[in-house]
Amino acid sequence: MAVTTRYESRDVAVHAEGLRKRYRLGQHRSLQQTVKRLLPGPSAPPTFEALAGIDLVCHRGEAIGFVGINGSGKSTFLQILAGSVLPTSGQMRVRGRVLPLLAVGQGFHPELTGYENVTLFASALGFRRRMIAERMEAVAAFAELGRHMETPVKRFSTGMISRLSFSVGMMFPADIYIFDEVLAVVDAEFQGRCLEEIKRLHRSGRTVFFVSHNRAQMAEICERIIWLEHGAVRDHGPAPEVLDAYEREHGPTEHGPEGANRRVGPARLRRRPR
């Protein structure tokens, strides 16, 4: 089941050194807070280190999973890798085009149709119009949304939106793919196809970053697991060992073929108006 480990590749895809990201806690500076800061007394707002110094080398062609409880820094790390957020200190070297799927339906506009949203999202990721036009049918086919692609996305179910954003991720070429808990709301059949497709990407030499709270999926996709805790690497190594260690501490994650997928039956496609 697990993909054979292939550490043979010497090319480094992602190299993080002392990566830190600090956020201010609490609300944005309102007028009240600004005035308070001008007054004497303790003024520095409390901060929170989402990443507290991460050193990590990921090789080209590796499939890497992140585990960790909510707020342990998984998404922040991936946001920096995706290029939307800069670290507070430290650095990260990235080789290759990154295709991030960090949230379900990220950047979809509710009023636009499926086709229009694919164009919008793919353009935001830096793909050119011609390539988007060429791949449009493949995206629609993979999402199995054929008839619905002309409907505004606001009439889609959550699962359908998730299918569409996932298909964009799958059907465009990149060197490094990021999947951050994007498989949570789709049905079992589509999940299976996505997992197959991610494994194919991996087999063809792409680097894959995968986050899921589902152990079966993590074990199926990832060769190496990185366990983050309080923004630091707690443990990393071959998937089964780290997953076992993680589960010993935090209790079992969703398990096995029954629990793995929240079955919602066949693709539940919502009505089209009229």
Partner: protein, 291 residues
Amino acid sequence: MTNAGVQELSTLERPLEAPLEWPGERLVKPCKRRLRLRDLLREMPVVRVLASRDLKVKYKQSLLGPLWLFFQPLALLAGFLVAFQHFAGVKISGQPYAVFVLVGLSVWSYFQAALTIGTASLVTNMNLVRYTACPRLAFPMSSVLSSLPTYAVTATGALAATAATGHLSLRILLLPAVLVWLALLTGACIAILSTLTVRYRDVTSALPFLLQVGVFLAPVGYPLSQLSPTVRAIIDLNPVAGVIEAARWVMLSGYEPPAAPIIVSAGVTALLMAVSWRFFSLRETTMADDI
């Protein structure tokens, strides 16, 4: 689409794609500024897609669709005719009052439309800002483009009215230059305001009424020459005033524009462009954190 067709294209049967060529390294580290002027050109494809998205979204689920483009300037024109011409008794020498107002409106309604979408552009695209590396400057720039139809409609109206009443000047050939000036001024304002909105949503609350007042603080419905010197000095400082006067000079034959507002506007435009570029490029690196 049949099920067989779906199977054919999806997962297993497709051949594996060869790995892409391995591109150069990208170094991600803390930095104050990273935006370069040459990035502007690279971003044009995204800007176009975002602009066409803005246009499509604006008239989705709307019965009259783009017809709305005509109503706003027409309503303003009617308002000005009543308030300024019939009530305040504003007199224009040289051309009919409606022609005079239409030219001013073409500039103002573009400015207003672009500022309205542009200021919110970063916030409405919050998900793209937070989760993708999509160039941030593309969002405000796209609103400069997507408001061009507003300009086209009013400018065509103004042009038709000018020509019909026989006041069209040959200087009309300079109109593209005025449009570029207007776009630069608007773009600079949008870059500053949209960046401020990322941190302070107050801008969203303030903008509508500022724009509402603004149309009376610009020489859209009245000529500058009829103002008292003190009021005139204030209105001259409005950067849009100079563009409006330049547009009239370009379109209307025999129109003698006052020099002061044009010089002031040109200076303010240059200043705003420099300031907005610096401000935007300093703030752009942390937008995903602040938004």
